[in-house]
């Protein structure tokens, strides 16, 4: 009984209209923050036709003085009024929950789940349409709930393709219904703020031009440390970590001995991304910067997949150092939120944690030779 809305991709004019409608909804949401009971309505196309016919019947009634036409006119007007009342009942006592995906990439569709709970004891809510209000990004699809039974909930999900990386700010929900007669569309706006960090789009890119050894998995470094390989045994000293005691050997020797381990050495890739915007940079630089961010993200994921550790260096900051085999999300999150800085005010590039394996991802403004 729940379904996402039409899947057709909006055309540019439709997209403009969607954007305009979104702006209106957001304005209404902002204006009525302290009036959550506020309702909005408009007549549907069918409603306008119905209203026009009603007026026609009314005029005919006045013209002819035929009381039966007055009766029909009263009936049609009553249907319009009743439509408004019924849609109000449908929109009452509803609660919503939104579940966001763990990861979302720019340009890649992700599923967002919406849950509607009908708090009414006896009345089902029919024909609900939910639209997620996201700043700057109109919904491609709306979630449709044919029926939400009383004291029950229904779940539906919709696909959203974030246009750009960064914070996707969800402001609220627009809950509309045209029930019962399709004459009037009435809606409420609910504040439901949430934020989704959209990772950069992962573009196709060449493997990093590094030494083969730089892309090997972690290996022992023949030095003592907290690695996984055991380098030897030695006598236990007071105060040392009891977890390092080799109990079987201690039992055999009759005194406590503890095992020593080698330190793991890791191949790290330090991706340098200069986010300083030159003074004479135009819009093409911004596009190039976004591509560079995407390239950096793709390189980071590639390096991690090949068994290397990764960090991203930029002006006045660096990403967390992600060890080999770990999730790339910290780096992707860093890249998602990375903003360009003005060159005059930019701090120097952060130095890499490891001098070897530095890869500089350059920003190439679109339209210029690399």
């Amino acid at each position: 009984v729940a379904r996402t809305g039409p899947t057709t991709q909006p055309q540019s004019s439709q997209k403009e209209a969607s954007l305009k409608a979104l702006r209106t909804s957001l304005k209404q949401l902002e204006r009525n923050r302290r009036k959550p009971w506020k309702r909005f309505w408009r007549m549907t196309r069918e409603g306008r036709a119905f209203f026009a016919v009603s007026i026609g019947v009314g005029l005919a009634a006045i013209n002819t003085g035929n009381n039966l036409l007055f009766l029909v006119f009263g009936f049609m007007m009553s249907l319009i009024v009743l439509s408004g009342v019924m849609s109000e009942i449908v929109l009452r006592s509803l609660k919503f929950e939104r579940s966001l995906p763990e990861r979302a990439f720019a340009g890649q569709p992700c599923l967002i789940e919406l849950k509607v709970h009908n708090g009414k004891r006896r009345m089902p809510s029919y024909s609900l349409e939910l639209e997620d209000l996201v700043e700057g990004e109109p919904a491609e699809r709306r979630c449709y709930f044919l029926k939400v039974a009383p004291a029950r909930h229904e779940v539906s999900s919709y696909r959203r393709t974030p246009a750009r990386r960064g914070r996707l700010r969800m402001r609220g929900l627009r809950v509309a219904t045209r029930y019962p007669f399709g004459i009037i569309e009435k809606w409420r706006l609910f504040e439901a703020p949430a934020e989704l960090i959209v990772f950069p789009a992962l573009v196709q890119t060449e493997p990093p031009p590094l030494e083969r050894s730089a892309l090997l998995a972690d290996a022992p470094a023949n030095q003592r440390g907290r690695g996984t390989e055991i380098s030897g045994l030695r006598a236990y000293e007071m105060g040392e970590d009891a977890r390092a005691i080799h109990w079987r050997r201690s039992a055999a020797l009759g005194r406590l001995v503890m095992q020593e381990r080698q330190r793991d050495a890791s191949n790290h890739l330090s991706i340098v991304l200069d986010n300083a915007r030159p003074a004479d940079a135009g819009a093409s630089w911004e596009t190039g910067f976004e591509i560079a961010v995407s390239r950096a993200a793709a390189l980071a994921v590639m390096a991690l997949n090949r068994g290397g550790g990764v960090e991203v260096l930029c002006r006045g900051g660096r990403s967390p150092l992600v060890a080999a085999g770990a999730s790339p999300d910290p780096v992707l999150r860093f890249l998602a939120l990375l903003e360009p800085v003005e060159a005059e005010q930019a701090q120097p590039l952060s130095p890499p944690a490891h001098q070897a394996n530095v890869l500089d991802v350059r920003v190439v403004p679109i339209g210029r030779a690399a």
């Binding site: 035929n66 036409l69 007007m77 029930y179 439901a192």
Partner: protein, 736 residues
């Protein structure tokens, strides 16, 4: 029931009502109605892939175009444009029923049914329309709601291509579901009929009936009742004696008095002066306008004496002959004016020879009027006279010598014309002549001769004709009169109903020095013959009461009634106000008083207004409270909540306002991390608030005192720089 089956049944219910609405009135021929019903029934079984075949669709499109052309041609050729249009409207609906594929088709069915209902307003004003309208009030919400849901279902499973089987299967699955709509939906939606009806009635009553102009339609012909046209064929009148159709309702005013179940009201219609030996006719004559006083009063003998005269309110159906029926002894009529374009237009009544009163009936709604009858019983046999030559009432056709001889024998030595008439009346109504509805076989002889000398039985026309001719042979002017005699009390409507079967014929004779007197020679045995009584009669009475109420209160509702109702309301209000002022003066004079008016109605009104006001305020308060997301808090939580609100305000005043999406604990933590001096106090207050508010912990007086002290420190703490809490998102944000 599955959604699709339920939708189909409701669609057939609504379209059936629409088609029946088209069948109201007399425009459609029976054969067309039968064909329409057969097609309607057959279309129910049109299902499945057949509906989606291109040839099937093309065939129906061509059929509709052909039908349109055919009906236009027939309309032009036969001039029965309205009938042709109705037939085409019915055909369109049938074609839609044969092509039920999608929500759009069902919507078209609903629209067409609605148009049929509108069209029926010009076809019939009978109570049948009321029944259909009631059906529409119940079924329309079902149909519109189901059509809307179907449209949404189809719209949310869009087909990628015209033959997208996947989308079709998905839609089919939902339409086949029995969970979407159930009995609760049906009953709930049917219950909408109650507010719908009330609102419809309110709008109907409230709209001022100010307009009336062009484009009105010709109304259908009224019921045919023999005996009131220009000709009465002897033998063609009495045989309707068993017809129970009510044509007239008489309410004795004032209402509310007890009434016998049956009475004999004599409602005079018209009279005939020429008899050719077989039929009665009226001599051609120009009718004059009946004089009027004011807008409503039409004196026949004199102006009404409302204090002494007896009043009867008469609701007359629209009959083919617009005759005004008057009770015996009527001195004046009162007929409310018609209302056109907010103007009250007096009724046009004409007065022809033989007291033939007729009215102009452009609405075909019949007539509602009041007859004032003299309270002097002796005068009731007298009929209002009009200046006209009496010679025409002495005409006797040839071949009635035996009748004249018989008349002379019967009157014998009677001295006056009145005595002669009474003897003739007594002779005919004695047991020598029998009352029967069977037509006497008169063969080639004159009907009256056959009646008086051979058959000696007949119905009222024979008796009245015989007496009239016998009087004329004696030189007494006489005329045959037709009208209704009878009256069965309808307890549901509070009136006496006169039926077609009560149609009657009697005689008026001119008595010098007195005027026209009424004589009825038909034997009393007539009263024993009539429509059957019993359960059906009761049902008929109930239906007729409804019909009368429908015709007078709905169909006949006009600006005059509206203004009258408003006037009554204003009068009532003025009386209440005057009474209130009088009481106020009295209490002021007494120096003691009750500020509240003591009239029960006003007290009720004030009480009701207070309750409504209080209810509205309560609802508003509840909505605001719920809208703000507030919940009820217990007494021990209240202090903690107050403390935290104070803390919130204090922080906001220092530029550290908490964002709406940030929880109190998060806010406290962030402030703590920022190294604020009073962060410990902030965290202590926050923890206390959270534990009391959500953890159910009761804060002791000492703890509350400590928290108040902490709040004072926070307020006093100097902050070097104002800062705000960063916004923090949550992947799952509940919303209300």
């Amino acid at each position: 029931l599955s959604f699709s089956l339920l939708h189909k049944l409701v669609a057939y219910l609504l379209s059936g009502l629409g088609l029946v609405a088209l069948s109201l009135g007399t425009e459609l021929e029976d054969s067309v109605v039968v064909a329409m019903l057969v097609a309607y029934a057959v279309s129910f079984f049109a299902e499945g892939p057949m509906l989606h075949r291109p040839r099937y669709n093309t065939g129906w499109t061509i059929a509709v175009v052909v039908a349109l052309v055919l009906q236009v041609l027939r309309g032009v050729m036969t001039e029965a444009t309205l009938a042709m249009a109705i037939e085409f409207a019915a055909f369109l609906q049938v074609s839609r029923l044969f092509n039920r594929r999608s929500a759009a088709d069902y919507q078209q069915i609903a629209v067409l049914a609605f148009l049929h209902l509108v069209a029926a307003t010009v076809l019939s004003t009978d109570v049948g329309y009321a029944v259909l309208f009631g059906g529409f009030v119940i079924v329309t919400p079902w149909m519109l709601a189901l059509s809307h849901l179907r449209r949404e279902i189809e719209g949310n499973y869009p087909a990628a291509a015209p033959d997208d089987e996947h989308a079709r299967a998905a839609v089919g699955r939902v339409l086949a579901s029995k969970r979407v709509v159930g009995p609760q939906f049906l009953f709930g939606t049917a219950a909408l009929a109650v507010p719908l009806f009330i609102m419809t009635l309110a709008i109907f009553l409230a709209i001022p009936r100010v307009g009336r102009g062009f484009l009105t339609f010709d109304k259908s012909r009224g019921d045919r009742v023999a005996g009131f046209g220009n000709l009465v064929e002897l033998g063609g009148f009495g045989v309707i004696r068993d017809d129970p159709t009510v044509v007239m309702r008489v309410t004795l005013l004032p209402e509310g008095a007890s009434h016998p179940p049956q009475t004999l009201l004599r409602m005079r219609g018209t009279s005939f002066d020429r008899y050719d030996g077989r039929r009665w006719t009226r001599s051609p004559a120009t009718a004059a306008a009946l004089g009027r006083r004011g807008r409503t009063t039409y004196p026949l003998v004199r102006s009404p004496d409302r204090a002494r005269d007896e009043a009867m309110r008469i609701v007359l159906d629209h009959l083919e002959e617009p005759v005004v029926f008057v009770p015996a002894g009527t001195v004046a009529l009162e007929i409310p004016p018609r209302v056109e374009s907010a103007q009250r237009i007096p009724r046009d009544l004409t007065h022809g020879p033989g007291l033939d009163i007729r009215y102009h009936d452009p609405d075909a709604l019949g007539l509602v009027y009041t007859a004032y009858v003299t309270s002097d019983r002796a005068q009731r046999r007298l009929v209002a006279a009009s200046p006209e030559p009496l010679e025409r009432y002495l005409q006797v056709p040839g071949g009635h010598a035996r009748v004249a001889t018989l008349a002379t024998q019967v009157v014998g030595d009677a001295a006056t014309d009145e005595q002669k008439a009474q003897r003739l009346q007594a002779y005919l109504s004695s047991g020598e002549f029998a009352y029967t509805l069977e037509q006497p076989d008169v063969g080639s002889s004159a009907p009256l001769n056959a009646f008086l000398f051979e058959a000696k039985r007949g119905h009222c026309e024979y008796f009245s004709s015989a007496m009239a001719i016998m009087l004329r042979t004696l030189g007494i002017p006489a005329r045959n009169v037709t009208g209704f005699v009878g009256g069965r009390f309808n307890p549901y409507g509070g009136y006496y109903a006169l039926r077609q079967g009560d149609a009657h014929s009697w005689v008026e004779a001119w008595i010098p020095g007195v005027g026209w007197m009424t004589f009825d020679p038909t034997p009393p045995a007539r009263e024993g013959v009539g429509p059957r009584e019993g359960l059906w009669a009761d049902v008929r009475a109930l239906v007729d009461a409804m019909r009368t109420r429908w015709m007078t209160s709905v169909v006949g509702y006009d600006l005059r009634v509206q203004v009258g109702a408003l006037r009554k309301l204003w009068t009532w209000w003025a009386a209440q106000r005057a009474a209130s002022e009088a009481r106020e003066r009295a209490t002021t004079a007494d120096g003691d008083g009750d500020w509240l008016p003591s009239t029960p109605a006003v007290r009720w009104l004030i009480g009701f207004a207070i309750i409504v006001l209080f209810g509205a305020l309560l609802v508003r308060w509840l909505r605001r409270r719920r809208g703000m997301g507030e919940e009820t808090v217990s007494a021990h939580e209240r202090e903690a909540v107050r403390l935290y609100r104070d803390l919130d305000r204090a922080l906001a005043s220092k530029g550290m306002a908490r964002a709406r999406e940030v929880t109190p604990l998060e806010h406290a933590r962030v402030l703590g991390e920022s190294g604020l001096d009073a962060s410990e106090d902030i965290q202590r207050i926050t923890r206390g608030y959270v534990e009391a508010r959500y953890g159910g912990r009761v804060l002791s007086p000492d703890e509350l005192a400590q928290l108040r002290a902490a709040l004072a420190r926070v307020r006093g703490a100097a902050t070097s720089a104002s800062r705000t809490t960063p916004r923090q998102g949550s992947p799952q944000t509940p919303a209300r």
